[in-house]
């Protein structure tokens, strides 16, 4: 397809859409779908027909609108009004009052801090386009950044732009993306590969899933730009097998893009060719580690290997390979569309841009948010998140999943960026944020994560395989009320050993939940050991006591 042609597709589609006076967008991302949003969409379509408004009213599906706790969500005329908790029965009223004041009983104010404090870059198209429609994406200048890069920029210039933007890896490590790209570009190899890491294994994180379900073309475009920059002609998306909807949408998007020659041979008539294939993960958390992920794509057990050599030099089938996270790729095309400077002006000195977080746990507004780096945790939890449910007291917020830590109230005013989070013994991680209230026992939480790491340990290196099992055993003794102070000392020592001697990130960070809870909630550990009581009243000790009484 020539650029004129795809500008034209976008233009005609825009015109076609503008013909409609009213647009009704129903969220069809997984959370809303599981609350029957497909039914809501069907009945809205029926109602539009019934009331003879086909000419002026268009019903379509759209990606995640963010406020997952109150689904199914329906957005009217590009978020002029947002309806929450819509059922199929509300359809006739919605269509009837489409030109009038929003229906009070369903409406959520767009001025809520939940919406007002967000800054959407990676999620720019979420809630604005139909994820199943390439035309929708083109109408929002989709694939223009790719075409622009292919025709007006050399690969080096593309990389320079990414370096200038200050984008850092959003998978958790925070490695500068530009630097990674230029290492792969410089590496010598007959072939090169680009891999998108969508193996979102952290329990409590659903950012990647939402992005893939809501804006699959955005990720594909980012990958193609990366492919051009580093000189690769094949890309893989390694996605969790547990995300059937995301897989389906991504497959459809790849087909649409191939048909319009936005992927495949000689993209848009340029000499650049790039194919993207999907590889399904099979439920191994360790495959989020890049060398394990490569082994898994090669059809092997997902065990990591020591680095260096890094995948940038010796990756998939021995060729230089670029691996980035979904959110990193989602940020690529906005950087070219809006300029590197726009992006680097947001955020803090060392952490530029925005970060997508999945808010969950004991918080009112669970859902997907994108906020500028440097915002305080307090703002996220109490302002955007709306505070704790049922009037309970805040206890801790857990970031970074099984590799992160629990952050207590006194650190809530800390800015959210890579460095500050590491300083308090947690990490940015991929962006899961679980809020816990006073009824969560911190030792039980640490034990939960340790059980996770113990089961997910691939078994290759001893510190992780044996260490996590031993740490789990010690934590169980504490929650069962059988531990002594010596056990606590042993646990702390063991944490340090596992942290410093494990082969890959899984083992090295597996002690973080324990270390951070010991650091901030030592009293609670001591209450379990010395007084044999659980202050939160939710772990095994508390249950046993109840049983005895």
């Amino acid at each position: 397809m020539t650029p004129e042609e795809f500008y034209k597709i976008g233009e005609t589609h825009r015109e076609k859409r503008d013909q409609y006076k009213n647009n009704i967008n129903v969220c069809i991302a997984a959370a809303c779908v599981s609350l029957q949003s497909e039914k809501v969409r069907e009945s809205l379509e029926e109602e539009v027909k019934k009331q003879g408004k086909e000419e002026s009213c268009r019903v379509s599906g759209t990606g995640c609108l963010g406020l997952c706790a109150y689904g199914p969500l329906v957005s009217i005329n590009n978020e002029q009004a947002l309806y929450a908790g819509v059922t199929a029965d509300d359809a006739s009223e919605i269509v009837k009052k489409i030109d009038k004041e929003p229906i009070k009983r369903l409406a959520v104010s767009p001025e809520l801090p939940f919406f007002a404090r967000q800054n959407k870059i990676a999620l720019e198209h979420c809630g604005k386009t139909d994820p199943d429609s390439l035309e929708d994406y083109l109408a929002l200048d989709g694939y223009e950044a790719l075409y622009d890069c292919l025709t007006t920029k050399s690969p080096i210039e593309v990389i320079e732009e990414i370096v200038k933007s200050g984008l850092r890896g959003r998978g958790g490590g925070g490695y500068p993306t530009g630097l990674k790209w230029s290492t792969v570009e410089k590496a010598v190899g007959e072939k090169k590969f680009v891999i998108c890491n969508a193996d979102e294994g952290d329990p409590g994180a659903f950012m990647d899933r939402s992005m893939l379900e809501s804006d699959p073309h955005g990720i594909l475009e980012g990958m193609a730009i990366a492919g051009y920059a580093v000189g690769a002609s094949q890309g893989y998306v390694y996605i969790r097998g547990e995300y059937p909807l995301a897989i389906k949408r991504l497959r459809a998007a790849i087909k649409q893009a191939e048909r319009q020659n936005l992927l495949g041979k000689n993209i848009c008539g340029t000499p650049f060719s790039f194919d993207i294939d999907i590889r399904l993960g099979a439920g191994a958390f360790v495959c989020g580690e890049e060398t394990a992920l490569i082994a898994s794509i090669e059809g092997q057990r997902g065990t990591p290997r020591p680095r260096p050599p890094y995948p940038a030099e010796l990756g998939l089938w021995g060729y230089p390979t670029l691996i980035n996270n979904v959110e990193t790729f989602a940020n690529v095309s906005p950087i070219f569309r809006k300029g590197a400077e726009y992006f680097s002006n947001i955020g803090t000195e060392k952490s530029k841009g925005t970060k997508v977080f999945a808010l969950a746990g004991s918080i009112k507004n669970t859902g997907l948010i994108e906020v500028p780096m440097g915002i305080s945790l307090r703002d996220i939890v109490f302002d955007i998140g709306g505070g704790i449910v049922d009037g309970k007291k805040f206890k801790a917020v857990q970031t970074g999943g099984p590799s992160g830590g629990c952050i207590p109230e006194e650190y809530l005013d800390m800015p959210v960026d890579y460095e500050s989070l590491s300083k308090v013994g947690s990490m940015m991680g991929s962006g899961g944020m679980i809020v816990m209230d006073e009824t969560s026992c911190m030792i039980d939480v640490a034990k939960y994560f340790m059980e996770f790491c113990k089961t997910e340990s691939c078994g290759k290196c001893v510190p992780c395989r044996v260490g996590t099992a031993q740490m789990y055993m010690l934590l169980t003794r504490i929650t069962d009320g059988e531990a002594t102070m010596h056990d606590l000392e042993l646990l702390e020592e063991l944490c340090e050993v596992v942290k410093h001697t494990s082969l890959c990130g899984l083992g090295q960070t597996s002690a973080n939940p324990v270390l951070s809870t010991i650091r901030f909630f030592r009293d609670e550990y001591i209450a379990h050991i010395k007084d044999k009581t659980c202050p939160a009243g939710t772990c095994a000790i508390a249950n046993n006591k109840e049983a005895v009484q």
Binding site: S34, A205, G283, S362
Partner: protein, 168 residues
């Protein structure tokens, strides 16, 4: 062992077998396609049975030990047949702190099975998932492929009961 695999290859192929073959063909019968192929086997048959593991090993020219290694390494693959209905309980962090243990004990009380087990009459399998990514709806379960969010232990037991009852 080779004989069974051969027999399988020669026997008239049912639709499910064709799906598996198509996946292997698409990847040029390369050993790299092992995981993709196991995915198709599980999709077609519901689980990985011994015959199919042998068949795949032979067709992709991968040692059976390695096929078995891969099949057991990844949690997504199951080597046991499932019951008629499945209830996958999400054990992600958000679901956990909102009361997954209570769901398990309610299921155990009613159907006498632990997570990972199937009832004796093969009606119900209870499985766990690390995180199904529906944290906004915690606690969540997946009943026969459909996600049910914000459930209580009684809810789950009742819904499962309804599923089983619909059969009879």
């Amino acid at each position: 062992m080779e004989q069974t695999a051969k027999k399988k290859a020669e026997a008239p192929k049912d639709k499910r077998q064709k799906l598996v073959d198509a996946t292997m063909r698409r990847h040029g019968h390369s050993s790299y396609a092992l995981i993709e192929t196991l995915h198709s086997v599980q999709e077609a048959y519901g689980y990985l049975d011994d015959d199919n593991l042998r068949y795949v090993a032979q067709a992709l020219r991968v040692p059976l030990s390695k096929v078995y290694g891969v099949a057991t390494f990844y949690h997504f693959f199951t080597l046991k047949p499932q019951g008629d209905h499945t209830c996958v309980v999400c054990t992600g962090t958000a679901c956990y702190i909102k009361g997954v243990p209570a769901i398990f004990s309610a299921i155990k009380k009613k159907f006498s099975i632990d997570p990972g087990e199937t009832t004796e009459n093969e009606k119900l399998s209870v499985l766990t998932a690390r995180c199904i990514g529906s944290c906004g709806l915690a606690p969540a379960v997946v009943l026969d492929g459909e996600i049910a969010g914000k459930v209580t232990p009684d809810d789950v037991v009742e819904r499962i009961g309804r599923l089983i009852q619909n059969d009879t």
